[in-house]
């Protein structure tokens, strides 16, 4: 614990660059895209890459670059909300499970296991069938399915912190559990949670793409990388470019968040830091 690891690893740098790229593209799409990503124009359908259309157009004559840019927005939006839902529900649950009497802690974690056992995509498809497929149902469903991983991380982290001497001291001084959780536990497990967020973000991006691909995610015509893949499917043999472009976008985002998560773990996880 004595060697403070504050250096930048190549993993972290690569992750940050890729994630930064996705975020930048999404931000730029708010003020500028080369073309309107949803405007259909039969005259320019299925064009190959040209100066005007860098990656060409789809069967509706929509510009692929513009769709990728606005699709990045959808992707980040889904990731942020899904991870937010998961962190906001999962973290307090995990801390509660670690700090409460044994029977309550066990109960929370067994319910948690129950959710964990339920396939995430199935949950999302079920939500889509009941509440109608939309970006919102996809985000919430992915979020709920990610709750258990946050709860587990938060619980194990909290249990470690609870056995430290300063927490024992705080308890002896009569601090309430809520204060201990806020002043001692949360700051100490924040690193773990940030790492988990980054990894969960990558999973959420993939899940959104899968759901849109299956028709249970973002509704047309809002651009979504998953739906671009789906729409390219019938033209796979004729125009593989239509599948490759969104495929690369998804790969870049997922790789970026995974690398970022790994890099952050190297820096933030006290257990790993101790091994250096």
């Amino acid at each position: 614990m004595t060697t403070a690891v504050k250096r930048r690893t190549p993993t972290l740098t690569a992750g940050a660059v890729l994630v930064g790229l996705v975020v930048l593209v999404a931000l730029v799409s708010f003020i500028w895209t080369p073309h309107d990503p949803t405007r259909v124009d039969a005259a320019v359908r299925l064009l190959g890459p040209t100066g005007d259309f860098l990656f060409g157009t789809d069967k509706f004559g929509r510009d692929l670059v513009s769709q990728i840019m606005v699709g990045a927005r959808t992707t980040l939006y889904v990731g942020v909300v899904a991870v937010g839902v998961a962190a906001l529900i999962g973290t307090p649950l995990g801390i509660l499970a670690a700090m409460s009497p044994r029977w309550l802690g066990e109960f929370i974690m067994r319910v948690n296991d129950l959710v964990l056992a339920f396939p995430a995509l199935l949950l999302a498809i079920m939500f889509g069938a009941v509440f109608g497929a939309s970006t919102w149902t996809a985000m919430v469903a992915i979020g709920i399915a990610t709750v258990p991983s946050f709860a587990r991380i938060a619980r194990s982290g909290t249990m470690q912190v609870m056995s430290t001497e300063y927490v024992l001291a705080a308890r002896a001084a009569g601090r309430s559990r809520l204060v201990i959780a806020r002043r001692h536990v949360l700051p100490n497990i924040a690193g773990l949670l940030i790492v988990q967020s980054s990894v969960s973000f990558a999973i959420a991006v993939l899940a959104e793409a899968a759901l849109s691909f299956l028709g249970f995610g973002t509704r047309p015509p809002t651009p979504s990388w998953g739906r671009m893949l789906q729409e390219s499917q019938e033209l796979l043999a004729v125009q593989p470019r239509l599948a490759i472009v969104p495929g690369i976008a998804i790969a870049v985002a997922v790789l970026g968040f995974n690398l970022l998560g790994d890099g952050l773990r190297d820096r933030l996880d006290p257990r790993l830091a101790g091994r250096r």
Binding site: A42, F60, G215, E231, V238
Partner: protein
């Protein structure tokens, strides 16, 4: 661990989606396997709407007194011949001898009476009203049925070629949803939900024995999986290619024959005529001017369909070219919307989640956005959810669906139909067309087609092309799709 689970689930879902039907084709020369996109919800077309059920069963498992041949002519089937009385109200049908149902029961005039009467008493689908014109059925002799109509009806005999005219046995209607029993050349064998239906040749069939003794009807939700199934030898025929951009790969491949013709399938942007804001004719007309149907057909059907302008395919006798009625004119659309006081229109476009419908919806939404109309596209699971929410509960502003039934323009005479169009003039014209002479019928039907187009009762985006791709060895497929059946009886082998 969670990550791994999710990725696995994702992969599983994706492969399951693209793999589609999983029954492998046995290398049996007497078997044929045909791929379709829309799967029947069940096998009972007397109580379940949707085109997929008669597509699989009519003329193949069920037969009527008459059928529609490949040219759209009414020809005898279970009836050897028929005569029509002077006042055109009484039809005398002479039946074939030695016809039996799949369950061994003989087919007689009593079954004709049973089947026709049963449409009125037991059927629940909206099409059952087509049998209301029948006054009574007399069993004159075992092979002689007499049908007396309340008034002369040109439509009735035509409707007898559709599912409405299918002949049932009193002993075979206990469980129609899972066990259909008819007189056809094929008997229903098994069904794997979400995958396939297997038909086997009926050994005691009264007519010409079919060439193929086993038929696999295989269902692929995903059109690429359907295309790949033919390319990879998984099936022998694609009943209809629904993704016209992919047709080229079969045309250039010497292993396959590609047939292209017309269908009865009007790809229709339906308006909810009974509900604001689309109860206002000016708003509907504005939408008609705003939509460039040529662009819709170019993007959705790779320009392979036919523009129609009303609900009449060119193969019907009363076809008139009405495509010029609403030229693409966004300025005029905006003016009409302003006149109706509906500049900030927001409409729910609730479509079947089928490729052509979702594609068309995006073109329509983009074009309506150009005139300031916001459209929210909601793809609904087809058939179950779409039929329930849009077709039955009328919960929509606009929808997109192919209306595949022949001569379905008559639905505009039914105010309870999902598009809620209620025009007494159209009703009386349709009635006149039905009871009049064939010449009067053509004149009146032409007037109906023009009236509903002028009223902008719906937007007939284009007529879907019928494109069939098959291995070279398969013969007897037809270019045009005129009946509601995928008729297996003419198929042969080279």
């Amino acid at each position: 661990m969670f990550g791994a689970t999710l990725v696995l689930a994702l992969l599983a879902a994706m492969t399951a989606c693209s793999a589609g039907s999983s029954v492998s084709v046995p290398p049996d020369p007497d078997a044929i396997s045909i791929g379709f996109t829309a799967e029947p919800a069940n096998l009972d077309f007397t109580r379940t709407d949707g085109a997929a059920i008669p597509q699989a069963l009519l003329y193949n498992v069920y037969e009527g007194l008459v059928k529609l041949d490949a040219d759209g002519k009414i020809v005898p089937l279970l009836a050897r011949e028929w005569t029509v009385s002077e006042d055109r109200r009484t039809y005398d049908f002479r039946l074939h001898d030695g016809v039996t149902f799949g369950n061994g029961q003989p087919f007689t005039a009593a079954d004709v009476k049973f089947s026709i009467d049963r449409v009125k008493t037991e059927w629940t689908i909206s099409l059952k009203s087509k049998m209301d014109v029948v006054e009574r059925v007399d069993v004159v002799g075992p092979a002689h049925a007499r049908v007396v109509l309340k008034r002369p009806s040109n439509n009735w005999l035509f409707d007898m070629t559709t599912r409405i005219g299918a002949m049932f046995s009193p002993s075979g209607v206990a469980d129609l949803a899972t066990t259909p029993v008819g007189t056809g050349p094929y008997a229903f064998a098994t069904r794997k939900r979400g995958d396939s239906i297997v038909l086997r040749a009926n050994p005691s069939y009264w007519g010409r024995k079919p060439t193929y003794t086993t038929v696999y009807l295989k269902y692929y939700k995903d059109p690429t999986a359907l295309n790949n199934a033919l390319l990879s030898n998984g099936i022998d025929v694609i009943s209809a290619i629904t993704t016209p951009d992919s047709i080229g790969q079969f045309e250039t491949d010497t292993r396959f024959t590609v047939l292209q013709g017309t269908t009865n399938s009007e790809v229709t942007l339906s308006f909810n005529n009974a509900k604001a804001p689309l109860d206002d004719k000016r708003v509907r007309q504005a939408l008609m001017y705003a939509i460039d149907r040529e662009a819709v057909m170019a993007t959705v059907a790779a320009n392979r369909g036919t523009l129609i302008g009303s609900m009449v395919p060119p193969t019907d006798p009363w076809y008139e070219d009405l495509t010029g009625l609403y030229p693409h004119d966004p300025a005029r659309a905006k003016a009409l919307l302003a006149e109706a006081g509906k500049q900030n229109l927001w409409l729910r476009l609730r479509v079947a989640n089928l490729p052509y419908a979702v594609s068309s919806a995006q073109v329509v939404a983009s074009q309506l956005a150009d005139v300031g109309v916001s459209v929210s596209i909601e793809p609904l699971d087809f058939p179950a959810v779409w039929l329930k929410q849009v077709f039955t509960d009328h919960d929509f502003d606009m929808s997109i669906i192919q209306h595949v039934e022949a001569r379905d323009i008559v639905t505009f005479g039914n105010p309870k139909y999902y598009w809620g169009y209620d025009n007494p003039k159209v009703k009386s014209l349709l009635a006149g067309a039905d009871t009049g002479t064939p010449e009067q019928q053509v004149t009146a039907m032409r007037e109906v087609a023009r009236t509903i187009a002028e009223d902008a009762a719906a937007d007939w985006l284009f007529l879907f092309p019928n494109v069939v791709a098959a291995k070279k060895k398969v013969t007897g497929l037809s270019d045009n799709l005129v009946s509601e059946s995928f008729d297996l009886t003419g198929l042969g082998r080279r």
